[in-house]
Structures are given as structure tokens and as C-alpha cells.
Amino acid sequence: MGLDYQTVLWNSHKKKYDLWIAIGVFLYLLTFIGITILTNPETTAETLIIRAFGTLAIALLHIVLLIGPLSRLNSRFLPLLYNRRHLGVSMFLAALIHGAFSIIQFHTLGNTNAFYALFTSNLEYDSLTNFPFQVLGFFALIILFLMAATSHDFWLKNLSPKIWKGLHMMVYVAYAFVLLHVFLGALQQQPSLWSISILSIGFIVIASLHLKAALQESKIDKQTAIKVEDGWEFVCTVDEIPEDRAKIFIVQKERIAIFKYENKLSAISNVCKHQGGPLGEGKVIDGCVTCPWHGYQYLPANGQSPPPFTEKIATYRLKKIANEIYVHPEGLAEGTAIEPIAL
């Protein structure tokens, strides 16, 4: 099945994750505001709010960006991926409070429109020391807004997964803008080895985890068939695939997944219709291939989501010679039924 996207799935996990997000946000604000009031009592409420929420947003952004590569490297992190949306939306809300208070404080009640003022009150776009850093924060906030606003599966369907995915990859652009926003802004006025270090370490950790996950995936993509017979490519032997699980294989640069279940073999595309999750890392549950990311399901024999859902993915023909599995690299139309190979 796919998920019924019109109702939000409120299950006990989501509530538990939301509770932890709320506790984390609360502890963050308590720590930041508490330390500031104790060590810097002359500060103003506006500055305190702007700084507490700006730094909260960048802290949450780091955590959001860690979850993707971690769950690719180790499937035990997948529950975090499943529940990542609310963390992302919380991060946007924190950034929104920061941005809104900054715009009100620095740009309203003047002789021009606040948004016009944001772009024009400092025009030194060609200088690093004087760069209008708030503009960078503004663009980052727009990206985060578009992502939060379209984060529901309703938009995924309506925008098409490709456009949606492209939009959500912009989080890396937003991250770059935010780093520049801070390095060219607050850190120039109050530079400190500590804050520069923590942001640099954060960047190095996030970049290296992404690189590691990408390397791991490119290894899979570089696999080629060691034996080709009459156009059929050798995949592996039957016992190399665990029960109810799959082997991921590459044909014509497409990833496919060959599942072993109920003494049968079927091959389908590895790419989930929802957000492109790796079906071959999923599992057969109740006769359906279940995506490891958000649990969309497909029947292995025809690549269709069980009714009432309508997702369909390509299927591939298999052949078994003795104990060896072969696949025909040409995929069939999405949702085409193929008789599974009996073992």
C-alpha cells in the first residue's frame, strides 16, 4: 500500500518523537536564555529572542542534516528518517521567529517598506566585511519555508516526486546561506574561537557523513554482471538472498531489487514511488514489499501497491538456471504482472 496522504498519521511513535523535539527545544531555550540573563543581564528582550531562536534554528538544522546520511549508513537510524518531517518544520518555525523579529526590529517603522529596506539599507554586495548578511538569512528562510510548506505528502503527489525532491535538496543551499549569514554577520561583530569552531566542526561532520554515504552508494552502482547469457545477466545464487529480503542489482544504470519470499523470486525497481526510498533494503511483510523509509508497499509479482492505493513500479523478468538467478535488463512497464520464479 501507499500511505493515505489525506489524514496525518498520528501514531504513538510520532507523538513520542514530537515530545522529544519539544523537550529538546525547551532545554535549548532554557539554557540559552538562562545563561544570557545570568551573564549578560543588560540585554534586551528582542535581542534575546532573535539570538535564542536564530541559534536554535541552526542547531536543529545540523541535527536534521545528520539524519539522512546516518540512516543510509546504518538502517537502525531509519525510524528517525521516518519522523524527520516534524523536526524540519520545528527548525523552520524557530528560523521564522528569528527572521520575523529581526525584520520587525531592524527594518520596520522606517521611511520605506521593511522588505525593500532589508535589501537596500546596506548595498555593499561587493564587500566581505560589509556584506548585507541579513539578505542571506532571508533567502535561506524562503527555502526553509517552501520546504516546510510542501513537506506534507499531499504536495509530494501534486508537485511530482521529482520536483519535490529537487525542492527539498535545496536544504543544502539553505545550509550554505545560513553559514554565510552567520560568518558574515554576527560572527564579525562578536568573533569567538568557540562559535567559529563549533560551526566548522558541524560542517566537517555533515560533509564527511554525506561523502561516506555517497561513496557507499556509488559502490553499489558500479557493480556489473560477471556473467551474461543470451542477454540475461547473472545476479547471484539463490541462497545469497535472505528470506523476505532482496538483493540490489544494477541493470542499464537502474537499480533493481530481487526479492525472495514464500519460496518465490520476483524482481522490481528499487526506487520507491514515494520519495525514492531503496525498496531493496525493505522487507516483505504480509506478502508486500515494504519500503524502509516510510512503509509504502508493493506486491512483488506486479509492482503495484495493493488497492486502494495506485502506485506502480517497473517489474523485471527473472530466470533460474540451477541455483543461479539471472535477470533480463529490460524493465517492463510499471505494474506489469510477471509470474514469480518458484524455488
Binding site: G24, I35, T47, R76, P79, N111, N130, Q188, Q190
Partner: protein, 264 residues
């Protein structure tokens, strides 16, 4: 069955023990990261100044109205002791719109005694007042030209290093009210008619403040905007009127030092 244990489906209410442990570890690590970031950003803030903005609190002041060339009220504090309080409007505006009505009732305004109710802003010996209602500017006695205080010429062609700030934010409304973080706001304030002020700091950390005017002593606003909120070197003639200096400059003499503003 052992393979099954580690497969998580969000809508099925069971999580394998090892997965649970991993998630717990992640949540703990995330909390540690959050608190570390909170502590680092909180501790590394510059200390805010003990400046004040009495938002929502009205204070009535009475004195001689004059212009330096920006609207001011000379208030007598003791015998032969005066404080010149800079008059400001609401938000990022000058006091002029709030003086329109009284200007229509008495002419000239300079030299007349006014009583003004507004919100005080003060720091480091300087006081400013925000006027939010033209009805709270009341004429006490009409103009007497003899009462208008005159600035005295002090030094010619003096070179000063500092930052051009907007005094409303600097002396209390915002913290920080200067430097890069605050720059766009200062530009808007000065563009809205708030007088530009040069703030200097010497090696003993003593600050001096100069109201900036053109070489004829007339107000400058738009021409100085590119230099606001940045360390610069300025040349000009210094005048003094009791507790305020005035610096008469030619904007083209301002030298942008192209340094990040670090004096807070």
C-alpha cells in the same frame, strides 16, 4: 526471524531492541549537541551596555527649544548646568513631524520654552527623548531669541576615528545599537531624520559623541548613509554646545577604514 527484528515500519507499533538503542543514543547525542551549541552561543555574546529606553513610561521635560541643527531641548539641571536633550520621533523618524503642529501655533519655535512628554533614552551622560504624540508638545512661553544657546568653535580640521551611529538605538533602544549587526537599522534611522552621530572611543575607553552636520552646520542625512555603521576616519571643525559636540564635515572627506566594527 532474526532478520525481521531490525526492520522498522513507522505505522507498526514495535521497534526492535537494537534499533531502540541506536535511537536512544542519537537522541542523547542530539541533546548534548543542542546544549553545547546553546552554551557556546550564549557565553560568546558581547556584553550589552547599561543603556536605557523607558519604553511605555512617559516623562515630562521642560526647557528651551533650539536646533543644533537637529531639534533639541535645553533643560536646566542646576544653576549654570544644562543638558541638551535630543528630540526624536516614534520608530525610525525625526521629531520634526511631531513639531509641525506647534510650529503652526508659534513662530519662531527656536528660543521658546516647551514642555514635552515622551520616553527617555539615556546612556553615558547623554539623554534623548522619543515623542510619540504631537499633543504632548506644549508651549510654555513664546520665543525669546536671546535664550537660544549658540555653539562655540573649538578646533578646526580635527581628525577623528570612530563609527557613525544613530543615537536613538545606540543610546538605549537596541543592544547592540552599533556595528555590523545593527547597520541596516542605523541607515534607516538616519535616513528617517534621526541625527547622525560620530561615536569615538579613546585608549582609556572613554567615548565622545559628535552631532554631524555639513560645513555650514545644516543637517545631513542621505549623503552620509554609505558611511553609517562602519569604522571611519572623519575630518571636520568641532563646535561645542554645553554637553554636546558638533562636527561640521564635508561628506567626501570621510574615509571608510573597511574594518569590521568591533568596538561594541
Amino acid at each position: 526471524m532474526k532478520e525481521n527484528k531490525d526492520f522498522y515500519v513507522g505505522y507498526i507499533d514495535s521497534v526492535a531492541p537494537k534499533t531502540k538503542k541506536t535511537i536512544k543514543g542519537f537522541v542523547l547525542a542530539a541533546f548534548a549537541i543542542l546544549l553545547a551549541i546553546a552554551a557556546i552561543f550564549a557565553f560568546t555574546q558581547n556584553t550589552a551596555k547599561n543603556s536605557y529606553f523607558e519604553f511605555g513610561v512617559d516623562t515630562k521635560i521642560t526647557g528651551i527649544y533650539h536646533e543644533l541643527p537637529y531639534p533639541m531641548l535645553q533643560v536646566k539641571t542646576e544653576e549654570n548646568e544644562y543638558r541638551n536633550i535630543v528630540l526624536l520621533g516614534f520608530g525610525k523618524f525625526s521629531a520634526n513631524p511631531y513639531l509641525k503642529k506647534i510650529r503652526n501655533t508659534t513662530k519662531p519655535l527656536s528660543g521658546s520654552t516647551l514642555s514635552i512628554e515622551g520616553n527617555l533614552i539615556y546612556y553615558n551622560g547623554k539623554t534623548l527623548i522619543q515623542i510619540t504624540d504631537e499633543e504632548k508638545v506644549v508651549l510654555v512661553t513664546p520665543s525669546d531669541a536671546a535664550k537660544i544657546p549658540q555653539p562655540i568653535a573649538m578646533v578646526q580640521d580635527m581628525e577623528l576615528q570612530g563609527e557613525i551611529i544613530d543615537p536613538k538605538c545606540y543610546f538605549g533602544v537596541m543592544k547592540p545599537g552599533k556595528g555590523k549587526i545593527h547597520r541596516s537599522c542605523a541607515v534607516l534611522c538616519i535616513s528617517g531624520g534621526i541625527p547622525p552621530v560620530l561615536a569615538t572611543t579613546d585608549e582609556n575607553n572613554i567615548s565622545k559623541y559628535y552631532l554631524i552636520t555639513d560645513t555650514n552646520g545644516a543637517p545631513i542625512h542621505q549623503d552620509i548613509l554609505p558611511f553609517v555603521g562602519k569604522p571611519s576616519v572623519i575630518q571636520g571643525d568641532v563646535y561645542q554646545l554645553q554637553d554636546w559636540y558638533q562636527l561640521r564635515i564635508d561628506v567626501s572627506d570621510i574615509q571608510d577604514l573597511n574594518q569590521p566594527s568591533t568596538i561594541y
